[in-house]
Symmetry: C2
Subunit: 494 residues, 2 copies
């Protein structure tokens, strides 16, 4: 067995242990299991640090132009990873992993008690680990301009602070006045029925219906519930999604399952040979989020999709839909309502949540902002500035997301995803009548188009090259902004 | 980190992967995951085969009388294991593990199709692996008299075919005529309400109630549902139980959760220092089954327990208990009804199911019976002989249990367990008014007695020494037979 295959087996085991921690591991069992997880991750890490292996990667990298395209993609990736981690010893790596695992445990506890002070020290250690990791790196080519660029490159290769500042700047400039307009002069949308009580059993039935409707492959995937919904690609025939039920917010589990199903479809429908060549997880986070948000927002919140699922909603949730028309349901799933919690945010205000996190983490990583007891206030101030709302406590404020417990630099990928998918939606519209295809429930056709155009080269190209290949155009936030302006000015009659 | 601790970490990871396979892994993901599981088990195995480690075990074994009692128990166990496995190479071990994992996969499929022929080849390989394993063993002291003795010793150290033949012989001799008497002259017991339909949600509420009632520690344990209920000691603070819901058999999930809770209490209430000394899983299977059956039968099916839970049953399952008295409920949970499926068998006929499996597996292991297409018929013939019933297909016949997929020699531990707990029930009765304690719901008192008397030395003594220490008497089936005779002659008025 090759070193890479052996390392993948430890990764596979680590994914299972992680999934177990997220789903069923009891509170007092978490610490031991964290140790096991760190051990497995370290075993995998050690294997890819073995001199024979790194020498082979170096040698193949020199001859990369002679390799077939899939092997070339793998070697470029391995060399990139190797260059980033060559100075990180196994012991140092284990130390980092333990910090991130402890971060997760402390975050759970701090969120439970709505008290950031229980997480503060851990978060500072996570930042230090991130920075120490960066300080140990060597670069083949040009060195990133800022620490944040270096970190963000891990998630979205080739994208920089400059790209983000431009995209988020344009967003804030055009959407801030529009949000004000919606709030002051927009049509009133009825939402009273969204908080009507439903049972877990009803929500379970709805999630199962949606997964079947979107053609999730149950032979090669599974689903369950967790505190925070996520998707995990455990193996080539094992993509898992989770959701969470709230008794007075049935939309939450519906749209989280559609979102996670999008991630899973990407995993299930990417080229089989990408799994055979061990390049199956080289998509960037931004690409992945573009797909999950394509299914969640561009499909899930479209007029056509609501029309398709409305009868089933009436059937499964009769107590909710007793006096709700299809049009009222469409309006309600698209209501714009500045709020505190990112995962519950509407499509319009969502990007503001990301901008807030980006502004904080960019300054933390670049050394312009301290991780201390004042951080929750700074979080709250930005919520007031962009969205006009203020968290009542840390649980609904700075502790709401798990991400920082294992490091910074991830959040902007969510917003970049919306911008990618707006671009390829417009490309898809050249080939398909999208609304009609959705109304007909033909997700096999949509999924096939996605597989052929969006998924096919995702493991093989960096984001800027990939989006150019899919759409024929350079990355721009313009399509997304135009989509929001058109959809929401019509909805709110402004 | 010591070799032993490292090996335990791989074991821990393997337990998680195994639990995942049993609970959520999708069908097509099973094969890859089986490979991961085999790899982890082999990593653990390799570590305990390292020359430094085995040399240390050998050296400490020579000085075992100078060790403290807990270290001595550990070293005796490690030396015993080492002696058994010293000639098994890591490759050979990996081969065995793959056979057992494949056995599990094939058993699932064969049971699904109710077709033993889909499992036959795998089962023959399991038998061959068991026999090859035995052929490679060396023994310090006396060699076991038969192959079955050698295999059964893995599960119940020091117990032999001779002990089993004596105990099962006495059982069959006294209980066969009594079963005939019950069937021909016994009082008619009302059971119509046992098949009334219930929902999963109701059964879930009942299982949760029972686990709380019996003082399962939810901070150090978790529960879920699986095809086949089981308990798993993942780690010192992580004991897991599972159950299975049948819509028209609510008793099934009730008594399976009580049974598995018994196993979990043993794990949660054994001495903490046994975990610290790595001897926490040295109880035999028979000891473990004695405890689970103590909770399931001696407590769960007692008049006092039924009286305690009857009001809650009426509350959770109103549609079942609308016309059922407490006395009728007590009689129904103890009804004697010869049946096909071991896990659904009543307390009285249960041992016959074990005797059937024992007769087959003893002959298979000792080379007197072939694993071939005639095996299902032989199974069916024994069911006719002892219980007067015949399976309609292999699913409710020879394919009903998972156990043989990973080897022979386990089943008799279930029946031995009933005989142990009948002995220590009588010892407990000298200290406590058991019926009154149950009626008062004081399972803290019962659990404490169990911890002090039954659990305390279980990891440190072989079964015959342990039961003598707990009860002051040598192992005998007599207490169990006397208990059955007294309880069931009263119930059936014979």
């Amino acid at each position: 067995m090759t070193t890479l295959a052996a390392s993948r087996q430890f990764d596979h085991a680590a994914k299972i242990v992680n999934f177990d921690q997220e789903t069923i591991c009891p509170p007092k069992g978490m610490a031991d299991q964290g140790e096991v997880l760190a051990m497995l991750e370290n075993q995998s890490f050690r294997l890819t640090k073995e001199p024979q292996f790194t020498a082979a990667v170096e040698a193949l990298y020199q001859e990369k132009e002679d390799l077939d395209p899939l092997d070339r993609a793998l070697i470029k990736h391995l060399h990139r990873d190797y260059s980033k981690s060559k100075n990180i010893t196994p012991d140092k790596n284990l130390e980092f992993q333990k910090i991130y695992n402890q971060g997760f445990v402390d975050w759970i506890n701090a969120k439970k008690h709505a008290d950031f002070s229980l997480f503060e020290k851990s978060l500072a250690k996570v930042r230090d680990a991130n920075l120490e990791d960066l300080s140990l790196r060597e670069y083949d080519g040009e060195k990133p301009k800022t620490k944040y660029d270096a970190l963000f490159d891990d998630y979205e290769e080739g994208m920089t602070e400059q790209d983000l500042d431009a995209a988020f700047g344009a967003f804030a400039e055009r959407m801030t006045p529009m949000l004000r307009e919606i709030k002051t002069h927009g049509k009133k949308i009825r939402t009273d029925f969204l908080t009507r009580e439903v049972t877990d059993v009803q929500q379970q039935e709805m999630a199962d219906y949606l997964l079947h409707l979107l053609k999730f492959d149950f032979e090669r995937g599974a689903w369950t519930t967790t505190e925070h919904p996520f998707t995990d690609n455990i193996g080539k025939d094992d993509a898992r999604v989770t959701t969470h039920y709230y008794p007075t917010n049935f939309l939450s589990s519906m749209f989280s399952i559609i979102h996670e199903c999008g991630h899973a479809l990407f995993m299930q429908l990417q080229p089989a040979e990408d799994y055979d060549h061990d390049i199956n997880d080289l998509q960037t986070m931004g690409m992945h989020e573009s797909v999950s948000r394509f299914y969640e927002n561009r499909i899930g919140r479209s007029r056509a999709f609501i029309s398709l699922i409305y009868p089933k909603c009436c059937e499964i949730f009769p107590q909710v839909f007793t006096d709700v028309s299809e049009e009222e349901f469409y309006e309600a799933v698209n209501v714009v309502e500045p709020s505190l919690v990112r995962t519950e945010a509407d499509e319009f205000t969502y990007t503001f949540h990301i901008i807030i996190r980006y502004e904080l983490e960019k300054r933390i990583v670049n050394g312009e902002l301290e991780v201390d007891s004042e951080l929750p206030d700074k979080w709250n101030t930005l919520y007031e500035k962009y969205l006009g709302v203020t968290p009542a406590n840390d649980r609904e404020g700075i502790l709401q997301d798990v991400h920082w417990a294992s490091g910074f630099g991830y959040f902007p990928t969510y917003a970049i995803g919306n911008m990618y998918n707006a671009m390829y939606y417009n490309r898809m519209a050249q080939d398909l009548n999208i609304e009609e295809t959705i109304r007909a429930g033909r997700f096999d056709i949509i999924n096939s188009w996605m597989a052929e155009h969006v998924f096919k080269e995702a493991n093989r190209l960096a984001p800027k090259d990939w989006i150019r290949q899919v759409t024929g155009r350079d990355f721009t936030p313009e399509d997304f902004l135009a989509y929001l302006e058109k959809k929401y000015s019509a909805l709110y009659e402004i």
